[in-house]
Symmetry: C2
Subunit: 211 residues, 2 copies
């Protein structure tokens, strides 16, 4: 074995060594990088060239796994929404208000961490893509489902119109307040959380006669 006399170049131009991963591991690694990249920047500012380089693979391999930039984004969004729902669901075994607070804390942490991406999602841009809009809508429905499930199986399956419209309204308040909060960044998360808790309590109090 001969030892090269030139040291490998360091710095931003250096390519990371290509490591062999099996198919699932590689896909998971790329998805993780995609979630981080699309979460940190607006869709149009994410470069698949840079992303592939940082994973030590070719851009072609990203396309091989995910089809297109848009499909890659949608796959990351789906996984990201799945994790968010799983984290808020894990809280739902606790006492209702405790679990609501923890769930909202998780949500606001998510919004904060994905600021630019969250805004793009709800303010046109990539959010107007029909498939992306469908993922957002499914996530909302799943969120509502989690709240309704706590109120009982029958209610979750057939919510009365006023219950459905009221809870959709509350989810709208959560989204709008989060967008405003992340755009201005001038309030502690706990104040936003308590505001949203109070709105849901007021909504539930109003629904007490219907449920």
């Amino acid at each position: 074995m001969t030892i090269s006399k030139t040291k490998p170049k360091a710095g931003p131009k250096a390519k990371p060594p290509r490591v062999r991963l099996d198919v699932d591991e590689r896909r998971a690694q790329l998805l993780e990088l995609g979630i981080a990249a699309f979460g940190a920047r607006a869709y149009d500012d994410v470069s698949l060239d840079e992303l592939a380089q940082s994973a030590g693979v070719s851009k072609g391999l990203v396309f091989h796994y995910f089809g297109s930039k848009r499909d890659f984004y949608v796959a990351g969004l789906r996984e990201s929404a799945r994790r968010l729902l799983a984290s808020t669901l894990a809280e739902s075994v606790a006492e209702p208000l405790v679990s609501l607070r923890r769930g909202l804390d998780q949500y606001l942490r998510y919004v904060k961490a994905h600021g630019a991406a969250y805004r793009a999602l709800f303010q046109g841009g990539i959010g107007s893509d029909p498939e992306v809009a469908a993922v957002v809508e499914e996530t909302r429905q799943a969120f509502l489902g989690q709240i309704l499930n706590r109120l009982g199986d029958k209610l979750a399956r057939h919510p009365p119109p006023l219950v459905r419209t009221s809870l959709r309204g509350w989810v709208g308040a959560v989204e709008a307040a989060s967008l405003d909060w992340v755009a201005h960044d001038d309030l502690p998360a706990a104040e936003v959380r308590e505001l949203l808790v109070e709105l849901l309590v007021a909504t539930m109090t109003r629904l007490a006669g219907v449920i």
Copy 2:
């Protein structure tokens, strides 16, 4: 003068007579037809050919006044938002809760009358056009301004962060609940209105310490 022996054709194929209107009148007439057409149907389903025909003018004249179909839509949306704001503003001289109820009634009537267009506006589609999104955002701001103005000049000019985020949240609840209501059409408007009143009262009660 000779009298034609053939009666003018009636029925859907008959062209309305071309009537000379001055520039402002013609523009106002076309804008009115545009607001009605874009309010009743989704953007892509509005035919400028039919619209021009019903006004007894050429499609070219519509383009002459408004530039393009999209610009025509934006002009109609602007005028429509201006009227909505004017109608809710007119209510703001009354006692706060009375004027809130009347304002919400006006809003829900508007949503009901423009069902398809309202949904398209907030669920991707034409709503993702940057200029359209800007009109929606300006209308939201003006709405918030009307509420804040009732709380005093200083507050309207520099709302504390929690006041701003809370009221944005409430406007989000109004939009989301309205969308759900108009999509399902299974609740009296008054129930939706009372739900939204209660949410604003809960929000204001919470803000009492800040204002």
